[in-house]
């Protein structure tokens, strides 16, 4: 395999953005800050269409949505992109990213499927589409512009007191680079899309043994309650493997991974009575743009970090981020929300 196959072309500008169901639900601030960074800081053109829908990837991977249906849904998103006059698809979600690549690949190998889907789409919606010139994941764009972001940064990922680089562990979503390794920076073996960003922002990236292991999200594992233990076990393998390096944060580019690496730390703390950091506060889990937003000096509550299970204060303190502790549960209108209950083991 040539080294060039570990590189990929990432469009520079003019994106049609498609959102992530999980992020919209669990940490909508991440998508907001991504759009804000791209539009306001990097001055890129990113358009959206309110009519775009879920890619139905979760349904597809759990055998609820048939292949023909998901291909037609994907075709409709592309039709919306075509109608808006754009050619570069920017995908927020790793599951969707895998789906778009899979469908496009299927059509390359089986043009008759594409013809059929075009017929379905026309019949159901009277829409037509041009296939995207470039499909980029949100983390690809942050990777592409990591140097520009680092130049504008207000904070670095270093310990503000000692000047030591913070230790970051990354986790790449399986559907980002394991389905089509050529579609991911560094492929499946040499994942660089996040570690290069982390080091650019001043931290050191830890290559822990189980770095390429699944986070435990795995649709089949968590959807069925009976097998949800598999999901927790996978996460545990990850945490056990990274804990000896005493990481200051985890960065993940997949909505599901970020979600489960975050929530399962609480689950494991309740099951086993332990956390994977020395202070008992857990290891904060951030997405690529949450991390970029932090170094750019966005208000952590504006990014929505309080919506995470593992609270971000330990990281904010290390970075020396100036923030308003009282603003954590205040709404935009200034109303104070009730404080959530705090767990006994995973400290807040």
């Amino acid at each position: 395999m040539k080294w060039t196959s570990y590189e990929k072309e990432i469009a520079a500008d003019d994106f049609f953005y498609v959102r992530s169901c999980i992020r919209q639900t669990f940490f909508p601030g991440a998508e907001n800050v991504l759009l804000n960074i791209l539009r306001e800081r990097l001055k890129l053109t990113v358009v959206e269409d309110a009519r775009h829908t879920s890619c139905t990837g979760i349904g597809y991977h759990t055998d609820i949505v048939p292949l023909e249906t998901i291909m037609t849904v994907v075709a409709r998103q592309m039709a919306l992109m075509t109608e808006s006059g754009f050619k570069n698809l920017l995908v927020s979600c790793v599951t969707s990213f895998g789906i778009y690549n899979e469908v496009l690949h299927l059509w390359d190998d089986h043009p008759e499927l594409e013809t059929k889907v075009r017929e379905h789409l026309w019949r159901a919606t009277r829409r037509e589409f041009v296939k995207p010139a470039n499909v980029a994941h949100a983390s690809d764009v942050i990777y592409k512009y990591r140097r520009e972001i680092a130049q504008m940064a207000q904070y670095k990922l270093v310990n503000a007191q000692t000047g030591e680089p913070l230790k970051g562990v990354d986790h790449i979503g399986c559907h980002y680079a394991k389905i089509f390794p050529v579609k991911g920076i560094g492929g499946a073996e040499f994942p660089r899309v996040l570690s290069d960003v982390v080091t650019e922002f001043g931290a050191s990236s830890v290559d822990y043994p189980e770095r390429r292991h699944c986070c435990g999200f795995g649709f089949r594992q968590y959807i069925l309650k009976e097998t949800r233990g598999y999901s927790v076990s996978n996460s545990k393998i990850k945490f056990e493997s990274m804990a000896p390096y005493q990481p200051d944060f985890i960065v993940a580019n997949c909505p599901g991974c970020a979600m489960f690496l975050d929530r399962w730390q609480y689950t494991l703390s309740e099951m086993e009575g332990k956390t994977y950091d020395a202070a008992g506060r857990g290891i904060p889990v951030l997405s690529h743009e949450e991390l970029a937003g932090l170094v750019l000096g966005y208000d952590p509550w504006e990014i929505g970090l309080q919506m995470h299970q593992v609270q971000p204060e330990s990281l904010l303190e290390k970075m020396g981020v100036v923030f308003d502790p009282g603003g954590k549960f205040r709404t935009r209108g200034g109303r104070q929300l009730p404080r959530p209950q705090e767990p006994d083991i995973l400290l807040v």
Binding site: R51, R123, A124, T125, R126
Partner: protein, 340 residues
Amino acid sequence: MHTKKIAVIGAGPAGLGAASVLSRNGLRVSVFHREAAAGGHLNDWAWLFPRFVPARDVAVSMAAETRQVDFHPGCHIAGVSRHANGQFKIVMPDGQTEVADALVYAGGFRVFDASRKEELGYGIYPRVVTSADLEKMLAGEVPFPVELLQQQALRIGVVHCVGSRDEKSGNRHCSRMCCVTGVKQSIELRKRFPNSRVTAFYMDMRMFGNGYEELYLEAQRDWQVLFVRGRVSEVAESDEGRLRVKAEDTLLGRPIRDEFDLLVLMVGMEADLPKWLIEDLGVKQIDAGFARGNDELVASNRTPTRGLYLAGSCKGPLSVAEAWNDGQAAAQQLLLDLNR
């Protein structure tokens, strides 16, 4: 006699109601209307519930109630500002301005754009029409799909709550009028196509006005309209060009599939307030986006801005009669304040 000058924006039922009271009380009244003819949405409707009165006649008799007014048709107001002396400066589309001592805003509502509910196939399949389209067909202004007239046993579906009580389209509110409109149109369709069968899909039927409940019963008793409680989830086209509908019969707890030759979507009413009303005149909005008076009970026509009054369905969905009365009420409120 007053020499005060009052501007009324909008000449639908509410605007005409306000203009009739103000003009009969000797005030100088200017009426600005974005369409060419007064009447508002009445001009888009064939017959009115619950007694099938021609809508045009109602518009004409409402306009006849007004006395001398300065009517500006085809005049979509570009902006309104309020001077320190309390007067309103109204900017017309051609840039000309007019000054008024008080303003009644009766700008009405907007009909929901059914193509936003793509799953219902409006704008995709020609046999999916809205309640507004159907009125034009019933009035003979727009032809029914030709092949429809040739069918012997027509199957017609009526879909309620399109763009109303629907968080996905950003409209949590109930548009109120569509329930009885659906009942009225079902009866009209049965009269027009005696061999047809009409099935109406509803969430709740809200028959709040005089004669509405009776009309609802009449539709079932005399016109055999079948009411199925359940929301239509999807519309597709069959090979024969009929409309294949999926829904849930929630009273029976069973999913259903059915085919229709014509599907009528009961489109809701949306807020349609101009920017200047909110930004320059300080009118507040309710969650659904409609204008909010000082309160909902005794001062709904008043606003925090002195001299500015709200009338009609700019405050939320109203029937023709309610809008007319509300316009008159706003004018009465204005007169009381002037004489104070």
